[in-house]
């Protein structure tokens, strides 16, 4: 066999680099989370001058979170959770059905239609915000949950992921069910959809995070206080003249954790689905 570079050195550099990168990725979030446990007047007390106090609070308090609970933030979390939940349920149904159709049936203009689907997910959302806003206002939907949910339900990317999954399922499986007299609806609902659960999990996670992170659209389409979404609420906390940093840091920590935790729990399916979908 060929003499290779000593695995020890290579491995050391690999882990040293990875540790450095991991620090750069984690430290910012960690600093926010730690600072959220400090009294508001202490948050920036130790940050201008480097000392161990920059990273370790003098004492840990929860009052920032108590204040957050008493503010409009819980309402924003509930709004966003509701919007995300409805988007995920409708979106998974609609997109899996469309992905199923693209994978299993032949019909006129199939390829042309699929190209249109791809174009809609390459087309950045920002480029249609203004016309979408005009339309939604025309429908009298501005400042309603409809405005926040409906535009996000049909997603070209999720349709694409389901199509990639169903294409790989052996057609004999669907055929067998067909011979047994099952309707297409039954085959989709009882065979195809349960089979695709890793894609369902990954797609649901993507749609959830997408709505949880939504900012530009809620900023223009739902301006009323009752409909405030999480990201808009946080951006607003920061803009107050006398920013309440205790509340801001607590809100940022909660918003980060609520996006990070579901991802950490379900990331296997997310990563698998992207890797299996054929970006090669």
């Amino acid at each position: 066999m060929q003499a290779r570079r000593k695995p020890g050195t290579a491995s050391f550099f690999r882990y040293a680099l990875l540790s450095l990168l991991a620090m750069v990725m984690i430290a910012p979030i960690g600093w926010i989370a730690i600072s959220s446990l400090r009294p508001p007047e202490e948050i920036f007390l130790h940050s201008p001058q480097l000392s161990w106090r920059t990273f370790v609070p003098e004492k840990i308090i929860w009052s920032n979170y108590e204040m957050l609970l008493a503010s409009d933030f819980p309402q924003a979390v509930l709004n966003t959770a509701f919007v995300a939940f409805v988007t995920v349920v409708l979106g998974i149904l609609i997109c899996s059905a469309a992905g199923f159709a693209f994978a299993v049936f032949d019909f006129p203009f199939k390829n042309a239609l699929f190209v249109v689907v791809i174009i809609t997910f390459i087309m950045p959302f920002e480029s249609i915000v203004v016309p979408l806003y005009i339309m939604v206002r025309g429908l009298n939907w501005n400042d309603t949950y409809f405005a926040l949910i409906m535009p996000e339900v049909a997603s070209g990317f999720i349709i694409f992921l389901f199509r990639q999954f169903f294409v790989k399922v052996s057609r004999e499986l669907f055929e067998a069910a067909r011979v047994d007299g099952a309707s297409w609806w039954r085959i989709y609902w009882d065979v195809a959809l349960p089979l695709s659960w890793p894609t369902v999990v990954a797609g649901a996670l993507m749609m959830f995070i997408h709505q949880w992170d939504a900012f530009f659209w809620p900023l223009v389409a739902a301006t009323s206080q009752d409909l405030t979404m999480v990201q808009v609420a946080i951006a607003r906390y920061q803009q107050f003249e006398q920013a309440d940093f205790g509340r801001l840091f607590a809100a940022m920590t909660v918003a980060s954790l609520l996006a990070i935790l579901p991802f950490m729990a379900l990331q296997r399916y997310y990563i698998r689905t992207i890797i299996d979908s054929g970006f090669k």
Binding site: L21, D106, L132, E172, I234, F279
Partner: protein, 292 residues
């Protein structure tokens, strides 16, 4: 196996039932808005508040507006730095976590962590960390002797700070697509090259890189589509400043539409940006294809 024999037993192709909701959704919320944008870009609002046809006047006035052209220049410069940087770093990081090893799964998750943060949170976090007076990054820079920096508050550093922010959040995401590409390379090719005595660098240049062209192209084009319309951090951190250093086109479009309420002009700008994204993406694809 062809599908026709079992698809014929219904009058209407069952595909249409399954497709209908998604097609309606995509048509109403994607295709119609984009058509409205293109049509609306030829209209304007009269002093009486009525919609009037302006022809190409919106475009003519935009393209001769030096402020807009400088915005376009800033946006293009940002892309010229951020996109190749994100491609190279995401490929490098993917190579680091590709081979199995102890804790590699954990590192992969950690590198992906910033992706789950919204752009709003990313912007707020880095705005605080980079604060010239209160930010801990400056405390660290001062302690190691580099000295304090202005970052987002400094005209010459603001754009670079935006590149850092976008890259910090983007690399983990693009890493997944690079990993997908790396997994698709047959191990036997590496093995054969190794037996031929190829070094790591030779194997990277002659085995990995040529077979990674598609994921690299995908990441480059997708990053372009996102970074050309970079918005939230500008809105939150700099509002286009200091002194116009981060006056991205998307921020200008937002201001034109929602502060100056000139929708026709904003739509014309959106249409131009969509065209610019398409053209840049096509050029990138062409360049990557003709490299062999």
């Amino acid at each position: 196996m062809p599908i026709e024999p079992w698809a014929c037993d219904m009058k209407i192709n069952p595909a249409y039932y399954f497709l209908a909701p998604a097609v309606v959704g995509l048509t109403v919320f994607k295709l119609i808005p984009i058509s409205v944008a293109i049509v609306g870009s030829f209209y304007g609002t009269s002093l009486m508040g009525e919609s009037v046809f302006r022809g190409i006047d919106n475009y003519r006035s935009i393209l001769s507006d030096p402020d807009l052209l400088s915005s376009l220049g800033i946006t293009l410069l940002f892309n010229l730095i951020a996109n190749p940087l994100q491609v190279v770093l995401s490929l490098a990081v993917a190579l680091l976590v590709f081979r199995p090893g102890p804790l590699i799964g954990l590192f992969r998750s950690v590198l992906f962590l910033p992706v789950t943060l919204s752009l709003v949170l990313t912007a707020l976090i880095w705005n605080l960390l980079f604060d010239p007076f209160l930010g801990p990054v400056n405390a660290i820079l001062e302690a190691v002797g580099i000295g304090r920096q202005g970052f987002f508050k400094d005209e010459t550093q603001a754009l670079g700070s935006m590149v850092w922010l976008a890259t910090w959040r983007g690399v983990g995401y693009w890493m997944l697509f690079m990993l997908a590409g790396l997994y698709a390379i047959p191990e036997s090719l590496h093995e054969a090259a190794r037996i031929d005595g190829a070094s790591w660098w030779q194997r990277f240049c002659h085995v990995t890189l040529p077979l990674m062209r598609r994921p690299i192209a995908f990441v480059l084009v997708a990053a372009t589509a996102i970074n050309m319309l970079f918005f939230a951090p500008v809105y939150i951190i700099t509002a286009g400043g200091p002194n116009g250093a981060t006056d991205f086109v998307m921020f200008r479009i937002y201001q034109t539409a929602f502060n100056y309420i000139d929708l026709g002009r904003a739509l014309a700008m959106s249409t131009i940006m969509l065209l610019v994204v398409l053209i840049v993406a096509l050029v990138e694809l062409r360049l990557l294809r003709s490299e062999d």
